[in-house]
């Protein structure tokens, strides 16, 4: 490529990105326009992860409820560990594929997938099967294991985590869809929607050494929130989490929770996992910061048995 062409193209790419951002406008999609949806949460049980998602998303009026044509979408699974899919330490790759397919069908221009893994990043992408699953569906799999990819942002209203470095792709995309997996967790007792955000930031050590639970809740205040949470509860690690030691740590619950409210989704998940909410710090803290409700009885939940 000639130098001149290169400059032209990079300028073009920059303009396009800027235009998409200002026109597509993240705030326009979120948080209003919920009138056409009846339910706060849809819980499905008994099918394959893909079939459950197909059914569940219909109850929200399809992916189109959350995405406008031509938008750039971030789908953020849990790819934390260098572990094969059967060990359920990372989000089910088949579910990731299906979510991305729905996102494209709703008219998204581009879909991005990344996670700041705990194990060696590229190995996690490969072993978890999520890299190939996402590419199969046409998404772009973005590396996240170097500080280069992160930019510092402010979190107004946070008690501890006033500044944090987040992945650029999170800032550059219009819509954010959270696809965590439900697991036991040694420290926070449970990992789900809120805890999954530790994969979009760079310095987890800082969180760990500065009141982890409050940091998780604080992060929820960051303006770029997920519009939808798809909590994978198909294979569930009920002990030795978040990494798991053997296949015996996994039980097949064949469930899925889809919700707009992450605090509510996590609260419901505690019941699946059999952990008392009182034992978990970060979920009530997040509720206290106004991120959602732990009072799921007050919500309109659609329950589907397949």
């Amino acid at each position: 490529m000639k130098r001149r062409d290169f400059l032209k193209k990079s300028a073009g790419a920059g303009l396009a990105a800027g235009a998409a951002f200002s026109l597509g406008g993240y705030d326009k999609v979120w948080p209003a326009e919920m009138a056409n949806a009846e339910y706060d949460m849809v819980a499905i049980m008994g099918g394959s992860p893909e079939a459950m998602f197909d059914l569940g998303i219909q109850e929200f009026g399809g992916m189109g409820t959350f995405i406008q044509k031509g938008q750039k979408v971030l789908v953020k699974p849990n790819i934390g560990w260098d572990v094969v899919p059967e060990y359920a330490a990372c989000t089910n790759p088949a579910l990731v594929t299906r979510v991305i397919e729905h996102v494209f069908r709703a008219g998204a221009k581009e879909v991005y997938v990344f996670d700041n893994s705990v194990d060696h990043g590229p190995s996690c992408y490969r072993t978890s099967g999520i890299e190939s699953a996402a590419k199969k569906a046409g998404a772009k799999v973005v590396p996240a294991h170097s500080e280069r990819y992160y930019q510092e942002v402010d979190i107004p209203g946070a008690l501890v985590l006033k500044k944090v470095k987040v992945h650029e792709v999170l800032l550059d995309t219009d819509v954010f869809i959270n696809v965590p997996i439900l697991k036991d967790h040694d420290t926070t007792r449970m990992t789900g929607c809120l805890k999954n955000m530790m994969g979009v930031i760079w310095d987890r050590r800082w969180w760990h050494s500065n009141n982890l639970d409050q940091c998780i809740a604080d992060y929820g205040l960051f303006e770029k929130k997920p519009v939808l949470h798809i909590l994978d509860c198909y294979n569930v690690m009920f002990r030795n989490g978040p990494r798991g030691v053997s296949r015996q740590d996994i039980v097949q619950m064949k469930s899925q929770i889809i919700a707009r409210d992450w605090v509510a989704a996590d609260t419901a998940a505690t019941k699946l996992l059999g952990v008392e909410l009182e034992k978990i710090e970060h979920i009530p803290l997040a509720a206290k910061m106004g991120l959602g409700t732990t009072n799921i009885e007050s919500l309109n939940i659609k329950r589907i048995q397949m």
Binding site: K9, S10, A13, G14, M45, D82, V118, D119, H120, P122, S123, K140, V142, P143, H145, S146, E147, R148, H185, D186, T187, T188, D203, R204, R205, W206, H208, S209, N210, N211, L212, D213, F238, R239, N240, P242, R243, V245, S246, R247, Q248, D249, I250, V251, Q252, M253, S255, T267, A268, K271, L272, G274, E278, K279, I280, E281, I296, I301, R303, Q305
Partner: protein, 519 residues
């Protein structure tokens, strides 16, 4: 100018070999399968000898092939297979570009005493004491260290530059690799050798190979009995002397129609240079000339010593800036032994077999393998050591054990590696966030692949780590993850001799699977 097929073939072949060697050392994404690496390395002379001593299998006897090859063809190893030799040829070419004079060699007398003394000392030290001299002088190891210490960072920089450009175009096939430096002092020896070999090859052709390199000297000795060699056709020779000027080994004494085979590396340049076709490669009827003894120029040693003293210390350590919690930790980690890599068996075994080529260090995806400074003592300098502040040993990886050319790291299948206990975990409660800050942490237990570190109830909803050294494999994930500084609250103390860890718990599930929604 006429072309010599032999020379063209040599250039093509050695270029390919060099590219292969270069690639295995800078394969950032670990794409090259281990079997190709093993195959490529199987003919490296010193590594193969060490592998044979430790394995005693026919397949590991690549050195025997080299000996036979040398007895038939002369020192072709030095021109065709030795990456350091090929690298020097490249340097010589560059030298010629800089100044034509640098590529005009001419016949010189050999440093016979010096080269055989160096070979003798190396052998003697290796047999009596240990392989430390080989570590220092084996050409493959020297090349490996050049690649790992100097070439790889350049490749990483280029890769990162390209990755950044592609990133702007929404293409993510290349990713950014953090550029980290090793312990600064470890660069001293490779840097000194780089200067020495670099300058010698730029200006004096293969002088290093024919003076210092013990493999060169040994194969040179064998070449004296080789079947094929460069020969003179005295009838055709017009004594123009071009062959001697072009000989990078400075070994052609055209006035006497004599080629010093112990220094000739079979580059075939002379064949191509000779305008009268007086030189060819073939069977020579041995017409032994009396070999002159040479006192050797002491200037050379003095010069190399001077170079050893003046090495540049340019690379800076680039540790990540990790924000520190309010108070630092107070209790020092009490490490009694360094942690040696999986497959080593024990520190003693590692010292016996490792020639510090640093291939394991460069293939390690998490950078936990670092060249040692004084962790193993002076003799173990540059050998691989696990550094859990730089990285952790990925549970799902055994790459280092698969590529080692000397069998210093024995191949371990994943299942075996996961039960190999490199060290044992130690928890320092007084440094732990949970105790000092009274907030949740558990980064160590989270990352532990066997749950040798696990959380138990502490105060309120807080949980604090506890350890089970029986199932600990010493991978260092806990130590790496621990956010406490300057001393970690959890660390791995090395096992000087590796042990077998117990299998982690895997009893039956005891949870009720909900058949209806519990909410």
């Amino acid at each position: 100018m006429k072309k010599s097929f032999l020379r063209q073939f040599r250039i093509l072949f050695s270029t390919l070999i060099f590219i292969c060697f270069f690639l295995i050392f800078v394969d950032l994404q670990n794409i090259i399968p281990e079997k190709y690496i093993t195959a490529l390395l199987s003919l490296q002379f010193v590594p193969s000898i060490l592998e044979y001593i430790s394995l005693k299998t026919v397949l590991s006897a690549g050195f025997a092939v080299v000996i036979v090859l040398t007895l038939i063809t002369g020192r072709t190893y030095c021109s065709f297979l030795c990456p350091l030799g090929i690298g020097q040829d490249i340097f010589s070419r560059i030298g010629g570009r800089i100044r034509k004079k640098f590529r005009r060699y001419g016949y010189k007398k050999p440093f016979t005493v010096l080269r055989y003394s160096l070979l003798g000392i190396t052998l003697l030290v290796s047999v009596i004491w240990g392989i430390y001299m080989l570590t220092l002088l084996d050409p493959y190891s020297i090349f490996g260290r050049f690649m790992t210490f100097f070439a790889k960072p350049v490749v990483v920089i280029i890769n990162n530059f390209l990755a950044a450009i592609l990133y702007r175009f929404d293409i993510y096939s290349l990713h950014h690799f953090p550029l980290t430096a090793y312990h600064l002092q470890v660069y001293a020896i490779p840097a000194a050798f780089f200067l020495l070999i670099g300058i010698l090859s730029l200006t004096k052709g293969r002088l290093y190979c024919n003076t210092v390199c013990p493999v060169g000297t040994f194969l040179g000795f064998l070449s004296k009995f080789s079947l094929l060699r460069i020969r003179f056709d005295e009838n055709k020779c017009t004594k123009c002397g071009r062959c001697a000027v072009g000989c990078k080994s400075s070994c052609i004494d055209f006035l006497n129609y004599h080629v010093d085979v112990s220094r000739c590396v079979d580059c075939f340049n002379c064949i191509e240079i000779c305008p009268d076709n007086a030189l060819s490669y073939g069977i020579v009827h041995i017409r032994e000339k009396n070999t002159e003894t040479d006192e050797g120029k002491r200037k050379f040693i003095a010069g190399s010593l001077a170079m050893l003293l003046g090495f540049p210390a340019s690379l800076k350590s680039q540790d990540r800036n990790v924000p520190v919690p309010g108070k630092g930790s107070t209790v020092k980690e009490n490490k009694t032994s360094p942690v040696c890599p999986p497959g080593a068996g024990s520190i003693a075994d590692l010292q016996k077999n490792c020639i510090a080529c640093s291939l394991c260090i460069t293939v390690c995806p998490t950078n936990v393998l670092q060249p040692a400074w004084l962790e193993y003592g002076v003799a173990g300098m540059m050998q691989p050591v696990m550094n859990y502040h730089k990285g952790f040993c990925n549970y799902n990886c055994n790459r280092c054990t698969e590529v080692c050319p000397t069998n210093a790291l024995r191949p371990l299948v994943l299942e075996a590696k996961r039960l190999t206990q490199l060290g044992k975990v130690n928890f320092i409660k007084d440094n732990c966030i949970v105790k000092t800050e009274k907030t949740a942490c558990g980064a160590c237990a989270e990352a532990c692949p066997t749950k040798a570190v696990y959380m138990v109830p502490y105060e309120g909803n807080l949980r604090i780590p506890e350890t089970n050294t029986e199932i600990c494999i010493g991978c260092g994930q806990c130590e790496y993850a621990c956010p406490v500084t300057p001393f970690k609250a959890i660390f791995v103390d090395g096992n000087p001799v590796h042990q077998v860890a117990k299998k982690p718990m895997d009893d039956e599930a005891d949870i009720e699977i909900p058949t209806e929604f519990p909410f």
